[in-house]
Symmetry: C2
Subunit: 351 residues, 2 copies
């Protein structure tokens, strides 16, 4: 196993201003994807029907947006029945409820989000943009307001007051500007389940905004672009003891919402053909000011690096022969000119 | 909502030796449990059948132990289909695979574990002990060895080498000593999915071991005891800037397994009657040396404190009228005498 592993430095330093250093991950080539997950081992022991009570896990919270449907079981159920000679039955605990974790999956018009109840940020938010969707301009962020999300049980919810005077922006994961095609679709991007605490100046209102713009410009080349965005909490080496530590702030009083150290985007740029090619690009940026001059390619990482860091998996069902590398096909460069002024104009609105 | 909230200090300081301070959580009374999760809102918009490909999430990894059955779907599926007038379809991404997170649930003879692929520790491990199960002594830890868990895909797995020379014990969540009734049952407690990095001296080999012994002694009073054990990563206030930070080490090279700041146990002591009373006790201990003199009750917290800190839920289906408070019914005190010597004798084996 270790022979096929390579140590890769995910170069995610923010340059001069930000003391955010690289995180190292052991990566395996994508052609050697682990197949354990897709191959449940069956047992030869007799199947005993579990007690009915222990089968039913709590229903996941589902929020019904106006134009979507939700057959969404977002929870886990585990039932194990002891053998005839076992003196114990660990699964009996589930009669009191299955502990979870539950990822509150909320499907909206322009996005689908999965929420982390422990860190009170999304695990991921997925979106889809096309030349046609971006051409429609029926929504305006002036009419939208930030909202706590009823899709999440109150005790696990991120709150508006957590962000208030925290020093961090309520940073959209799926940008409002990607959902201008409908006011309601845009409004739904303002749920806090689509938000993470982001550094404002130099990041959310600057480099990150240019990066979002880069994603939109991909629709000039690709007829369909899908983007997964989310937070990361990466370790950093302490030079004094040479050990790796993860450290992040929790905002709110009492502390409630974690401040991610980094953010990822995994971009799927489709050629528009059924079973066609998909240009994949993965990027990890520090939640810190980044100079506009910094090349975007400095933040490009293998998809597997995001997987190891997030515990998630992307593109497991996308055959290798359909995969292309985005930055080999397209120019992975930001456009700062002109855009910067426009950006400044609504920077206050992003808070 | 805020009127029903109370700020509670979960007093989890370890005393003189360990600079681990309190974590504050906003708690709601258990009689006001949020019902959003159990009440999916149905939509009136027309249900459109999603494309077949986007329905199927990856099968969860399941490990088949010798005497258990596993009808265990441990993953989430989210499907949203755009309205007829929507220019986008965010759920189309799932044709490339559902990102997760997947909690690898593994059911063994003496425990069931749920694994956190991001932090490479369990979310929780549940067990069941009875006077009868503890009376059988067919297993001996001398015959057991620590094992990487094939229930978890290789790229998310905790490794033996991560713990090697890390300075931390491979700390059992479900203790080996609770599974002496069968050698195989005990062997299965040695999977790394039942392990977290724990401070050895003063904690895993001392106070924590006495705490595990306390749980076993509860079977002298209760005919059936269920215990959920797991790690926490709690924030601590930085006195210099007065902000809350979570900080934990990652062991392994490259860094792979998080070192929890704290551990919880939620104990369900049953009276043995169907629909009978359940004495509930929740405890949060710092992953640090704790003097034996420290009263166990110093670490007692409301169950809701563990829920907020872990993002999990316990006992949601246990009616309030069946709940008792463990430390009101039983003496929540450790027995250090005699036990200490026995403990020292096998302390090396715990590493």
């Amino acid at each position: 196993m270790s022979k096929t592993s390579v140590a890769v430095i995910a170069a995610v330093s923010a340059g001069a201003g930000a003391a955010v250093t690289a995180a190292m991950y052991s990566l395996r080539s994508s052609s050697k994807v682990e197949t354990v997950a897709a191959t449940p081992i069956t047992t030869t022991s007799p199947a005993i029907s579990p007690p009915k009570n222990s089968l039913s896990a709590p229903s996941p919270p589902v929020f019904a947006g106006p134009a979507t449907t939700f057959p969404t079981p977002a929870t886990s159920t585990a039932v194990a029945v002891p053998g005839a000679d076992s003196p114990v039955n660990p699964s009996g605990l589930f009669e009191y409820g299955f502990p979870g974790p539950v990822a509150d999956v909320a499907a909206r018009q322009a996005l689908i989000s999965s929420f982390d109840r422990r860190l009170r940020n999304p695990h991921w938010v997925v979106e889809h943009i096309t030349p046609a969707s971006l051409a429609i301009r029926d929504g305006d962020r002036k009419h939208s307001q930030f909202l706590e999300d009823p899709a999440v049980p109150e005790k696990f919810r991120a709150k508006l007051k957590d962000y208030f005077r925290s020093g961090f922006d309520r940073g959209h994961q799926v940008p409002a500007a990607d959902a201008k095609w409908n006011q309601n679709a845009m409004d739904e991007t303002f749920y806090l389940t689509n938000m993470c605490p982001q550094v404002g100046e130099g990041f959310n209102r600057d480099y990150w905004a240019h990066f979002e713009d880069f994603c939109r410009r991909l629709t000039q080349t690709y007829p369909s672009v899908r983007i997964v965005t989310g937070p990361l909490y990466l370790p950093k080496r302490d030079p004094t003891d040479n050990k790796w530590y993860v450290k992040y702030e929790m905002i709110g009083n009492p502390p409630n919402v974690a401040v991610p150290t980094h953010f990822y985007k995994v971009i799927f740029a489709e050629d528009g053909k059924v079973g066609g090619n998909v240009a994949l690009g993965a990027f990890v940026l520090p939640n810190a000011p980044i100079p506009n001059e910094k090349p975007l390619t400095d933040f490009e990482v293998p998809v597997e690096a995001v997987e190891k860091a997030s515990g998630l998996e992307f593109a497991t069902k996308l055959p290798v022969q359909r995969r292309k590398r985005l930055c080999a096909e397209a120019s992975c460069a930001l456009v700062i000119k002109d855009y910067a002024d426009k950006q400044k104009a609504f920077s206050k609105g992003k808070r």
